[in-house]
């Protein structure tokens, strides 16, 4: 059925098409299918938060003065009348108390910055736990890691611009860390700050990095990230009719655009709601910065929390030799935890490819339980991050939970190693158990809640077969076969990819771990000898099963 396009649209459309050859491309793009799952929307929270940051940031830039020059305050906030402060701080007081809507926009900006980082982390965890970083999406994953890093820096500079007491303490710590770097540290600190700390250069320099350089980089990276995602098409969750070769969902125009617009307004609305009812970064309470003063409960914004925690956790280690000092209690916390996390994140897709030998394309997401080692590693990383993060708030925890301060630090010193190990082991077992449950459900049906009494007097629960939809999801567990042992050849004479050296043995070990998974065909029973199950000497296959689930 043909219907005519309204004249204004066709007029403009014709004008553009005459110049840009757009008709076919536009149709393809408008009809592009986007799969639907709530967890696919987390990245968009970050995207729209970034847009909101740009909008509110532009407003703030019209009023903010990026200067550390001292002034005496005589504005509306009478409690600080006569106090000496930097022009930057004064301009932020001005925005908060003398510009209508200024405080609201300031708070939206700061809440949006926090939500940006929250959403990036949540999105990244979703992509990780569903294996959506696998081929062909490794580059996009790396771009995401870089955006994450840029976001950290951007936020650090952003909340340091008002030059208040709290962010000034953070700047002092930053300077101390840079100063402690061997050989080049003092030069680095003096170059960044334009001389001794605090100097007057740091605020204008952070400003230009915060409003121009880093947002430009982030914008470019986000554009690339989105372009690649559209070109490669989004992954989709396992389900009935979803294959590696198709995408099912709703077309871009009008459905995805309408939902996307609604999502934008929801995010914006949520941020404004927060900014109306939850005070954030009350710089007038912190006061203008002097290097002589500090407050208890001095923490950076949450995304810097793990740096703070690792600094608090460290024992006092320092070596002096030949007139030189290396402060390990500065270097290790500054470089190691973040280094582990960022390097680990960047390397993971390639490590997983190496360990599993899997080079195929993946457009269907994994359910986290179907990749026990990946999920367990992710949970270990989350625990590692979480312990460091909690330690960063140790004085607030101590004061509110009445736990002595040093006790919290001592607990976290052990927990930072034990926690990830326990999380890894527990998560892996939970994943395998969930896989068994899925296999059982697929084979025997779900428990319907209907109890029947047999003529013998025995009670059983009737199992119903799972619906076709659920069966498709449960069956979408395809564990990867283990690599053939080193030194063997397959039927075509191709040698096994595993080497025999140290690296080869490590790869074989990792491969065995990755291959340990419970495929649906085993019906939930442990089949020894298939898929490299492992050496835990599991007892008889039928042990632990109730009568009605045994094969007839």
């Amino acid at each position: 059925m043909t219907s005519t396009v309204p004249k204004p649209v066709s007029g403009v459309g014709g004008f553009l098409d005459d110049r840009f050859h757009g008709a076919r491309g536009m149709r393809v793009f408008m009809r592009k299918i986007f799969p639907d799952h709530w967890s696919f929307m987390l990245g968009e929270i970050a995207l729209w938060s970034f847009v909101i940051l740009l909008l509110t940031g532009t407003f703030l830039a019209l009023f903010f003065v990026p200067s550390a020059a001292p002034v005496i305050y005589h504005g509306s906030y009478s409690k600080l009348d006569g106090a000496e402060m930097s022009q930057a701080y004064q301009s932020v007081l001005n925005i908060s108390f003398d510009v209508r809507g200024g405080l609201l926009i300031r708070q939206i900006h700061h809440w949006a910055a926090d939500m940006f980082m929250v959403a990036i982390i949540a999105h990244m965890l979703r992509v990780f736990f569903t294996g959506a970083y696998r081929k062909p999406r490794e580059i996009n994953w790396l771009i995401g890691v870089v955006i994450f890093t840029m976001g950290l820096l951007e936020g650090l500079f952003g909340y340091s611009l008002p030059d208040d007491q709290l962010s000034g303490a953070g700047l002092r710590i930053t300077e101390g860390v840079i100063q402690g770097i061997p050989i080049i540290g003092t030069y680095g600190a003096y170059f960044l700050f334009g001389g001794p700390y605090p100097g007057t250069s740091i605020i204008p320099r952070m400003y230009i990095l915060h409003v121009l350089v880093i947002p430009g980089l982030i914008l470019g990276l986000i554009t690339a990230h989105l372009f690649i995602m559209v070109h490669q098409k989004h992954t989709q969750m396992p389900g009935l009719g979803n294959t590696e070769k198709n995408v099912r969902g709703q077309p871009f125009f009008p459905y995805f655009i309408a939902k996307g617009q609604a999502w934008f307004f929801f995010i914006f609305g949520a941020l404004v709601l927060l900014s109306t009812f939850a005070q954030i970064n009350p710089i007038w309470l912190y006061g203008p910065y002097t290097p002589v003063a500090i407050s208890s409960a001095s923490q950076p914004d949450f995304y810097m929390g793990i740096l703070e925690g690792s600094l608090r956790m460290m024992p006092a280690w320092e070596t002096n030799f030949l007139g030189h000092t290396i402060s390990w209690s500065v270097l290790i916390p500054a470089l190691v935890p973040l280094g582990i996390i960022f390097t680990g994140m960047a390397m993971w897709p390639f490590f997983e490819q190496w360990a599993t030998g899997d080079r195929s394309w993946h457009n269907i997401n994994d359910r986290p339980r179907n990749a026990p080692i990946r999920t367990a590693t992710g949970m270990a990383a989350v625990t590692f991050y979480g312990v460091l993060w909690a330690e960063g708030a140790n004085d607030v925890l101590s004061n509110n939970l009445q736990i002595p301060l040093y006790t919290i630090t001592w607990i976290s010193r052990f927990l930072v190693f034990l926690g990830p190990a326990i999380a890894f082991m527990a998560t892996r077992r939970i994943c395998i158990a969930l896989q068994r449950k899925d296999a059982q459900e697929l084979a025997h049906g779900y428990e319907s809640g209907i109890i029947r009494q047999l003529p013998t007097g025995e009670f059983i629960e009737v199992h119903q077969p799972v619906s076709e939809e659920n069966a498709a999801v449960l069956a979408a567990n395809k564990p990867l076969p283990a690599l053939p042992p080193a030194g063997t050849e397959d039927e075509n004479g191709v040698p096994a990819p595993l080497g025999t050296g140290v690296l080869g043995k490590a790869r074989a070990y990792a491969n065995r771990g990755f291959a340990e998974s419970v495929p649906p065909e085993t019906n939930g029973h442990d089949d020894h000898g298939s898929n490299g199950h492992g050496s835990n000497g599991h007892a008889a296959v039928t042990a632990g099963h109730s009568p009605e689930e045994l094969e007839p």
Partner: protein, 353 residues
């Protein structure tokens, strides 16, 4: 695969007995693999009555958004700021109206999509991301051809001199950064303290005599005279002065580094000790003084120093005690520094020694 016979009649819903009835079935059910999904979007929604109701709800939400939006503009025009109370009112009014506008718009748009637009599920094929072998071969052929034509491979002189030419250009941006700051030189080893410089109470800027600082367990922040407004100087020269009761400093050690004295009871005046306020871990002002335990705690990373024994580190990541400022009294009786600190204050650095 399944060893269960599906029962006839209505299938029991996938829930436990006693829970509320299942929601109405989903629309439409996902179709099996291979089944063809509609290629066209239906013009109108399937349930017209429902869509009409939804349309009314959406319209109401959009009208609400309009009203709230006007409210935002009215609040901006009508409510002034310039005081904390006024700002509170303004923020509340502007924020509430804006939230309502945005959320009403959002909810309205969403209900429009979900209940007024026809429901549809469509499918698209994923094309191979890998180019065909022919395309790759064609690319390779041209790339080799073009590369050969550029003569870069055959003429090493061209190649190498090109690299040579661009090398300084690559380094130039780094070189241009040199004037971002001065070289540190020895400035990290010195502070604003010098012989005879008076200790001023920070804030009131009053000098101190021992008679004014008599209560044991007292602590105050002091700064060098003449530098009370110089943030660069204060970042290294801030000092805490602590008063002890007689006898509490009996175990005060003498700390040396080779021939340099870094801490000694000789720098104590009338049971008053002066320590650098700049933490030796990362430079935060270390100021939580516990009068009962004589511990100085830094709030940043909980480095703890014992003020009664030369600010020795007893917990936390700081590796060195707080530098001690040599103090004495001048002719007028005011507390003055005997000299600058005998060691660099603040965080460690490579050249510290």
């Amino acid at each position: 695969m399944s060893d269960i016979e599906p029962t006839e009649g209505p299938v029991a819903p996938h829930r436990v007995i006693g829970t509320p009835p299942a929601a109405p079935p989903m629309v439409p059910a996902q179709v099996a693999e291979g089944e063809v999904l509609p290629g066209h979007i239906p013009a109108d929604p399937e349930f017209t009555e429902h869509a009409k109701n939804a349309e009314r709800v959406v319209a109401a939400l959009f009208i609400l958004a309009f009203i709230a939006g006007c409210g935002f503009i009215a609040a901006y025009v009508g409510i002034q700021v310039h005081s904390v109370d006024q700002t509170l009112r303004s923020n509340l009014a502007l924020g509430t109206s804006l939230s309502v506008t945005l959320l009403a718009l959002a909810a309205g748009s969403l209900i429009w999509v979900r209940h007024v637009m026809p429901d549809v599920e469509m499918e698209e094929e994923r094309h191979d991301l890998q180019s065909t072998a022919a395309e790759r071969a064609a690319f390779q052929e041209y790339a080799v051809e073009a590369g050969r034509a550029s003569q870069v491979g055959k003429r090493p002189l061209l190649r190498r001199t090109l690299l040579l030419a661009t090398a300084p250009l690559a380094i130039a941006p780094v070189v241009l950064l040199r004037d971002m700051g001065p070289l540190p030189g020895t400035s990290l080893r010195q502070t604003a303290w010098s012989p005879g410089r008076r200790l001023l109470v920070y804030g009131t800027n009053q000098p101190l005599t021992p008679a004014e600082f008599t209560s044991p367990g007292s602590m105050i922040t002091v700064v060098p005279e003449g530098y009370q407004d110089d943030l660069d100087a204060l970042a290294k020269a801030a000092v805490i002065l602590i008063k002890f009761a007689p006898g509490q400093l009996d175990g005060f050690p003498t700390r040396t580094d080779g021939s340099t004295v870094l801490g000694t009871p000789n720098w104590i005046v009338d049971n008053m000790v002066a320590y650098s306020k700049i933490c030796t871990h990362l430079g935060c002002p270390v100021a939580l003084y516990e009068a009962t335990t004589h511990h100085i705690l830094c709030p940043c990373h909980q480095s703890t120093f014992n003020a009664a024994v030369g600010a020795a580190v007893i917990f936390g990541p700081a590796a060195r005690p707080l530098p001690q400022l040599p103090i004495t009294t001048d002719a007028a009786g005011y507390l003055v520094a005997k000299s600058d600190f005998n060691e660099p204050v603040g965080p460690s650095f490579w050249e510290r020694g």
